[in-house]
């Protein structure tokens, strides 16, 4: 339980780093910076993800980032529970 409390804490404080400070410095993924030097470009292959770039539709970037984090953590927990039931059989 203590581990999950720490995980929850990390998600709640994550917008400070992932949104607020990231906006201040004009953040790019390190790979994007290397890709720029190499002239690589992302290609849209036409698949849609519901919470692209850790956003939540209709919600601002800070609460959206927290919601996206909770969804990600929750989804991993659910997948774990499903897998546990599968291996228990």
């Amino acid at each position: 339980m203590r581990a999950w409390a720490v995980i929850l804490f990390l998600v709640i404080i994550s917008p400070v780093f992932g949104v607020i400070l990231a906006d201040r410095v004009g953040y790019h993924e390190p790979l994007d910076v290397a890709a720029e030097k190499l002239g690589l470009k992302e290609v849209d292959i036409g698949y849609h993800t519901p919470f692209e770039d850790y956003t939540f539709p209709g919600v601002g970037p800070v609460p959206g980032y927290i919601l996206a984090g909770l969804i990600g953590v929750g989804l991993i927990a659910v997948l774990g529970e499903v897998l546990k039931r599968v291996v228990a059989k």
């Binding site: 999950w4 990231a22 201040r24 004009g26 993924e29 890709a35 190499l38 992302e42 990600g72 991993i76």
Partner: protein, 218 residues
């Protein structure tokens, strides 16, 4: 280091998927990957922790950032097989739900961050600790630092090889390896510091909790 769609050509997309699926099939068939309820709980908790930690980007002046990758940490704590499953779970959720890393490049991303980084981190930690000849807070920190650092550097080099050998791009490996390897050599230092710090934390230094520590004779 999440490669988006379009950075690899179709041959590398196919090859990296085959290697990644083949690796997990080999682990499963050779009984190195036997999932039971308690093991699934460990994998799930660590995957959730790494997912949350990866959301903490530490922005750097100049427009880039650092965040934990977690491959070395997962490999050291759970061993290479379960460490790879942990990272694969994180990368799967990131690609399918958050578009962080492409769908066509998921095989490559799992190969780089979930297999290469995990294996490098695990073996560097184990042998660094063995060479140091003692298990103390300092030696665990140093072994963790080296493991995290090398895991990101080598994974970056492998990523550079994949991009450089994709014939559709103008640059060969003579350009992509120095660019990717150079960047990740520097970024890996922070991965190493975080990995060393977490592993040397008093609550984490229990050999029963850390597979690589137990196997290194801790």
């Amino acid at each position: 280091m999440h490669i988006p769609d379009g950075f690899l050509d179709v041959y590398w997309v196919g090859a990296t998927y085959i290697v990644t699926i083949g690796y997990f099939a080999y682990l499963s068939l050779s009984h190195q990957l036997v999932l039971d309820s308690s093991r699934v709980s460990l994998v799930t908790t660590l995957a959730a922790a790494i997912f949350a930690a990866q959301m903490l980007n530490w922005p750097l002046p100049g427009g880039t950032s650092l965040h934990l990758l977690g491959g070395a940490l997962a490999g050291i704590i759970l061993g290479p097989s379960y460490g790879s499953v942990t990272l694969a779970l994180v990368l799967l959720v990131q690609a399918l739900v958050f578009h962080d890393g492409g769908l066509t490049t998921l095989g490559a991303n799992i190969l780089n961050m979930g297999i290469v980084a995990v294996l490098v981190g695990y073996y560097v930690f184990k042998y660094a600790l063995r060479i140091s000849g003692k298990v103390s807070r300092g030696s665990i920190f140093m072994a963790g630092l080296l493991a995290g650092w090398m895991s990101v550097f080598i994974a970056g080099v492998v990523c550079g090889v994949e991009i450089g050998l994709s014939p559709q791009f103008p640059y060969g490996v003579e350009v992509t390896i120095p660019v990717m390897g150079g960047w990740h050599f520097i970024l890996g230092i922070v991965e190493g510091i975080i990995t060393g710090f977490v592993l040397s934390h008093p609550h984490a230094r229990n050999p029963e909790l850390i597979v690589a520590l137990k196997e290194a004779g801790g």
